[in-house]
Subunit: 343 residues, 2 copies
DNA sequence: CTGTTAGCGCCTTCAA
DNA sequence: TTGAAGGCGCTAACAG
């Protein structure tokens, strides 16, 4: 008993039969192979068009061992930063005839593993990954390596030696940010940083310190607080900073959300924004323009461009332009964007 | 000459050879088929584990004619609304063992067509689609229908008779919104609506009118303005509304962005928000909580839930629980969310 | 309980 | 210029 699976979609076999020629001739005709007679070619193409023939990609994937699909694994699709990043990835993949398989880990390591597993089974040609907040075990990526599936990490990259990665170094932007504040006359500049373990937090702190050094100013460790990015954490950090003996007149916050929370706190304390206290932040969101008191400046991290860069790196790997073990680590510079001050 | 494509990944054939049994036995053992001896099963599984065997999905897709993949076509990934929607889609798909192929049309009809084409070639089992702003030709969806690939439209649904669709009716939410304002004593309620052609604009207008009717109030067409959702458009609309003889004390805006622009305009005109003028909006964004003057209430459109619902509908179609031509049109109710007023 | 075999759609070598 | 045949990895029908 023959099972019908292809829901009536025409195949080359069918075309061959109708035209009384062989399947290989049809296949070649469809591919414009030079050794096929013009007449035959025309007849084949005409019938193919008439029948609405379409090659069965799954068959081709199967026998070629390539899927022209890349897997994207991200923590959270609804975060503006990642939404932009995906957008950049999809655009680049699309214009190179690749499609994109999507998975979100929700910062859950177990789910991250499952998704990687599933992508591997789907035989994606490669992966682009931004790891979860708490991921500390990287064996799932090791499996990809063994399966010779290239991976490019971006933004949230793991602390491993031999990886392909694209990221945005926050140090440069942070230097610019602190510099900006120093030039406006601020001397006691606080920083609400993220969890100490995060690479991103380290980069922020490093930038902060370097900026001070460049101005030959003393670095006071008390001015940097590590917070957990929740509203309470931000409030606590603000309380701490505002209680310092040295009067803090400017604060660099971990991201725009923290900034907005911090602004709310400051307002409650009757502080006048941009006068008593000035905020500078990191632009994870396009929203800040709409808030009443946006940070005076923001460090842009270029998510769309990071997505593009990661995809291009992966594609060059897939094209064999670089050896898989020739590890590339593209670091893009973050950049300070000064907002309009007349609001 | 044998071409090696599978990059050395072990196959059941290899396992069979090593164990001196047949491929079908291996296949069955791996599937826990009841008719396989415990010993054999164990041996097979052990070797499979040792070799790091993993089934080649592309082979299975190919021979089963199913890919357990659904295609998502959306206008713009970086719009918060769609980002949430995708999140809902991906979560639902994932927990049903489906994966998700992604494409964004950027509201470009040609690109929309290409993506649909590509998804069809990838042999996705079904599609979830939100059409572009300007899409007026639906032949690409007709092709899907002919290929018997089910499509569920959501949010931006085409004006076609026989389709599966999930959407959120804004009429109910709008009624609640106007009702809310009427109960607070407002009588001259303006509306900055979207382009007249959009279904969503019509629903808003209809809700507005119905709410007045329910209160036995006269409907004044002058109070509804169609704008184009740009900042200038919003400013013009505001100028118009504020210049009316009847003093407008409340305004329903098309979405949160329009609301924020309108608030800015009002502030410039020295109006006091929530006193001189009150805004109610539609929640396309989770941001409004951070703005200084968020709308007093918002009509929630539940993008995540819409994504879930669309995916469930598609899955039920794929499972054959409903005939493909038994068209379902799920309309979810929008709902007014009243914000805290003590800010 | 296990083995043999055909076939999914396509491409590609080899032979004519 | 064309045809025949094999094989990609796997499943399932059929035959022991």
């Amino acid at each position: 008993m023959k099972k019908v699976v292809s829901s009536g979609q025409p195949t080359i076999k069918e075309i061959a039969k109708r035209l009384n020629i062989s399947v290989s001739t049809v296949s070649r005709a469809l591919h414009d192979h030079h050794s096929i007679g013009l007449r035959t070619k025309a007849r084949v193409k005409a019938l193919a068009a008439e029948l609405n023939y379409e090659r069965n990609q799954t068959a081709i994937y199967f026998q070629q061992g390539k899927t022209f699909t890349i897997g994207i694994l991200l923590p959270e699709l609804s975060e503006a930063f990642f939404a932009s990043a995906i957008s950049g990835i999809e655009d680049t993949a699309y214009s190179n005839n690749y499609t994109v398989l999507l998975g979100q880990s929700h910062d859950d390591e177990a789910r991250e593993k499952q998704i990687i597993q599933s992508m591997k089974q789907h035989r994606v040609d490669g992966c682009i990954v931004s790891i979860g907040k708490n991921t500390s075990n990287y064996e799932h990526f090791e499996m990809l390596r063994q399966a010779r599936i290239p991976v490019v990490f971006f933004d949230r990259i793991p602390d491993l030696p031999d990886i392909h990665a694209v990221s945005c170094n926050l140090e440069s932007g942070t230097i610019q940010a602190v510099d900006f504040l120093l030039k406006k006359g601020h001397r006691a500049i606080g920083m609400i940083n993220g969890p100490e373990t995060m690479v991103a937090s380290k980069e922020r702190a490093a930038g902060y310190i370097k900026a001070l050094q460049q101005h030959r100013l003393k670095y006071d460790p008390n001015l940097i607080v590590n917070a957990d990015l929740t509203v309470e954490g931000t409030n606590n950090a603000m309380e701490y900073l505002l209680a310092l003996k040295r009067k803090v007149t400017a604060i660099v916050t971990f991201n725009d959300y923290v900034a907005m929370d911090a602004v709310q706190y400051a307002l409650k304390k009757q502080l006048i924004i941009n006068k008593d206290i000035t905020f500078v932040s990191y632009a994870n969101t396009p929203v800040s323009g709409y808030t009443a008191f946006p940070p005076a400046a923001s460090v842009e991290q270029f998510p769309y461009e990071q997505g593009q860069a990661a995809t291009n790196m992966l594609l060059s790997l897939l094209r064999g332009e670089h050896a898989l073990n020739e590890y590339q680590n593209k670091v893009m510079a973050s950049q300070l964007v000064i907002h309009e001050e007349n609001r």
